[in-house]
């Protein structure tokens, strides 16, 4: 399936995305370092596909999502969405591009303007990007509310009058208003009750089927991602550790970090749970302001060896469709083609973008 799906042009192509937040310290606020929240991430998302993005808190998953839609200004890299490099569009072009790419936010309470009614929130993008008449807009707002399962009577209510699940539906309706192709779901279910989580996830799946949407699904809920995603990228400290089809990743993770992370998934069957081989990592995640010189995971990796502490492994295809950034697998290809060229590629990208 994956070999066949190599053929269509990806809807989203991310190349060497870096998002560094500068640190200013001292009396004169001098630039003394960077928090490398995202440090060279590359992946493709095919049309109609759901790519899961998992990792522990603070690994940079949300930053990837925001930098992708240029809610942050990426430090380096290219983000090609539907044929245009979003990372380098001018402000006005970017604004016109926004309808194709939307985001569903984590906190449905904080992400809705408390002073706008539901109709205002959903309808605002229509004012900005379309020339619909008033009646058409109202019709579209009702249509969207139907799509996400909100009662039409609620149109003139304010966000604080809704429950968490309903608010997330408002957030989804808002994201859908302009018929986007690509939606970044930034932990859309993290702030919801378990009973509501399933509803929202099912809604997202439904909408994908009906509208042919492409998702980047960011979550730390591994079982939800397994259910929803076609492929999954595991992030650790600003870099992708493994990017594999969901089924393969969950049945046989390759990267030691992916292995450790997935061993934390809850097992409903108590007998299996008792026999489950739980890998518990020691130590803390290093600071993204000062990542280790070699592999980012070398400080906690149970299978670390010398090379790991010196050279950062690159993400490379070790099995068909499976990409891993780990020296344990790098002997399968020649080191020369993968070890060095990162800097060169980056240089070319910047040259090309000008």
């Amino acid at each position: 399936m994956l070999d066949a799906s190599r053929q269509p042009e990806p809807l989203v192509r991310v190349e060497g995305l870096k998002m560094h937040f500068p640190i200013y310290t001292g009396l004169f606020r001098s630039h003394t370092g960077d928090v490398k929240a995202v440090d060279g991430v590359s992946f493709d998302i095919l049309p109609g596909e759901t790519l899961g993005l998992v990792g522990e808190s603070g690994c940079g998953k949300s930053t990837v999502g925001r930098a992708l839609l240029r809610l942050y200004e990426p430090t380096a890299g290219r983000v090609i969405i539907d044929g245009e490099d979003v990372a380098h569009l001018s402000a006005e072009k970017l604004r016109q591009k926004r309808p194709t790419m939307q985001m569903v936010f984590q906190d449905p309470q904080a992400s809705l303007n408390p002073r706008m009614t539901l109709a205002g929130i959903i309808g605002e993008p229509l004012d900005e990007h379309t020339s619909m008449s008033r009646a058409e807009k109202t019709q579209r707002i009702y249509e969207l509310m139907d799509q996400v399962g909100l009662n039409r009577r609620f149109a003139n209510r304010y966000p604080h009058e809704f429950s968490g699940g309903q608010r997330q539906r408002i957030g989804i309706a808002r994201a859908l208003a302009l018929n986007p192709k690509f939606i970044v779901c930034d932990e859309p279910i993290a702030a919801l009750d378990v009973s509501i989580q399933a509803q929202v996830v099912n809604l997202l799946e439904d909408l994908q089927e009906r509208l042919g949407l492409t998702y980047l699904f960011i979550s730390h809920d591994l079982s939800m991602v397994r259910h929803l995603a076609d492929r999954v990228a595991v992030m650790y400290l600003g870099r992708i550790a493994e990017l594999s089809p969901s089924k393969d990743l969950y049945s046989r993770p390759l990267h030691p970090y992916a292995e450790a992370l997935l061993s934390a998934v809850n097992e409903p069957d108590p007998e299996l749970a008792a026999r489950r081989n739980r890998i518990i990592l020691k130590g803390d995640v290093p600071s993204p302001a000062n990542p280790p010189q070699g592999c980012n995971f070398c400080t906690r990796c149970p299978r670390v060896f010398d090379l790991c502490r010196q050279v950062k492994p690159d993400l490379q295809e070790v099995e068909p469709g499976r990409f891993v950034a780990c020296h344990l697998f790098s002997d399968k290809t020649t080191a020369g083609t993968t070890g060095v060229p990162e800097a060169r590629i980056e240089h070319n990208q910047q040259g090309a973008s000008k």
């Binding site: 809610l71 016109q96 926004r98 936010f105 303007n113 408390p114 002073r115 993008p125 900005e128």
Partner: protein, 335 residues
């Protein structure tokens, strides 16, 4: 909402009564006597008669209750009579100023236009300056505009008006001779020339008070904007593809205005009460000047009445601020 307002008004009654007792008592206990204004050449028995006629000798509670009745019953009657040409008051005793022997409310009505023009204009100017500065300096935090705004606000807020007033007079009235140092209350606006003269003489006092008020309002606006700019819904608005203008002015500014409007409403009693110091500095014949004059002359009814009116205004605008809060913020419901 209506029940809330009625309840608040109901609670305001004992509050105001208590304030009136305190004001009346404090002013009464203050050293000095209305007799001190009577020249020493007046014979003692005449002096005693004058004091008798002022009603000074009556016991405290009698004078207080009489004043209360005059304030809440007689004076409104006169106001109604004046407005509708009726005769409900039927010549009842009004609150009379000790020093001028004319009704206190007449003096207040005479003085009010001066205070409202100068101090009202200053307040309006302050709001018009402060809001853009506050919004912009929050939007471009730590830019030079923000740094300058912070510096000017700090100066405006920490330097007292009697100092800025005198400094401006020294620079612009004495050295440069651009503006008059004294505000001419008798000026009547009849044509363009006199209008220009009026604006001309208002510039200095308006600048002094405007700077002071703008400093406070712009700081509130800035901090409120900063708080809202970092909220998630701002990111949502950007993700919707709204232009920066819409994001800042529609989403952020409107949400940030909630506390700012409250601050502005709470500052409004000051406009009516007059800015005592600034009116003194520029010799504006407003309410503040009347209050200072009355204090000097031990004119107790005048002091009590003006202070109490200020207290009523403060209570009222507190209520208005609370109501505005509920109107502006849909999350707040008064039930």
């Amino acid at each position: 909402m209506l029940t809330y307002v009625l309840r608040r008004l109901f609670i305001a009654i004992p509050t105001l009564l208590l304030i009136s007792v305190v004001i009346f008592f404090l002013v009464d206990l203050a050293p000095g006597s209305p007799a001190s204004e009577i020249p020493l050449t007046v014979p003692p028995e005449v002096r005693a008669k004058i004091l008798e006629s002022l009603g000074v000798n009556a016991p405290f509670h009698v004078r207080y209750l009489l004043w209360l009745k005059q304030f809440f019953w007689v004076e409104p009657m006169y106001a109604i009579d004046y407005l509708f040409g009726t005769d409900y008051a039927q010549g009842a005793q009004r609150i009379i100023s000790y020093s001028s022997r004319s009704p206190v409310f007449n003096i207040i009505i005479e003085r009010l236009p001066q205070t409202l023009t100068v101090i009202g204009t200053a307040y309006a100017v302050a709001i018009l300056i402060a809001l853009p500065i506050g919004i912009y300096s929050a939007y471009r935090q730590y830019s030079w505009v923000d740094q300058l705004g912070t510096f000017v606000s700090m100066v405006g807020y920490s330097v007292p008006t009697f100092f800025t007033g005198v400094v401006l007079i020294v620079i612009f009235a004495v050295k440069l001779q651009w503006f008059p140092s004294i505000y001419d209350t008798t000026l009547r606006i009849t044509d363009w020339g006199s209008l220009w003269k009026q604006i001309h003489q208002m510039i200095l006092p308006v600048a002094v008070l405007g700077l002071y008020n703008a400093a406070e309002i712009s700081r509130y606006t800035r901090s409120s904007m900063l708080e809202n700019l970092s909220q998630d819904y701002v990111r949502t608005a950007r993700a919707k593809g709204m232009s920066e203008r819409v994001v800042v002015l529609k989403h952020v500014a409107r949400n940030s205005m909630i506390p700012v409007v409250t601050i502005i409403a709470l500052g409004l009693p000051g406009v009516f009460g007059g800015a005592i110091v600034t009116e003194q500095v520029f010799k504006i014949n407003g309410i503040g000047a009347a209050l200072i004059g009355a204090i000097h002359a031990n004119d107790l009814p005048m002091v009590q009445t003006i202070t109490f009116i200020t207290a009523i205004l403060i209570v009222t605008f507190n209520l208005i601020a609370d109501i505005l809060y509920g109107v502006l913020d849909p999350r707040i419901r008064y039930d």
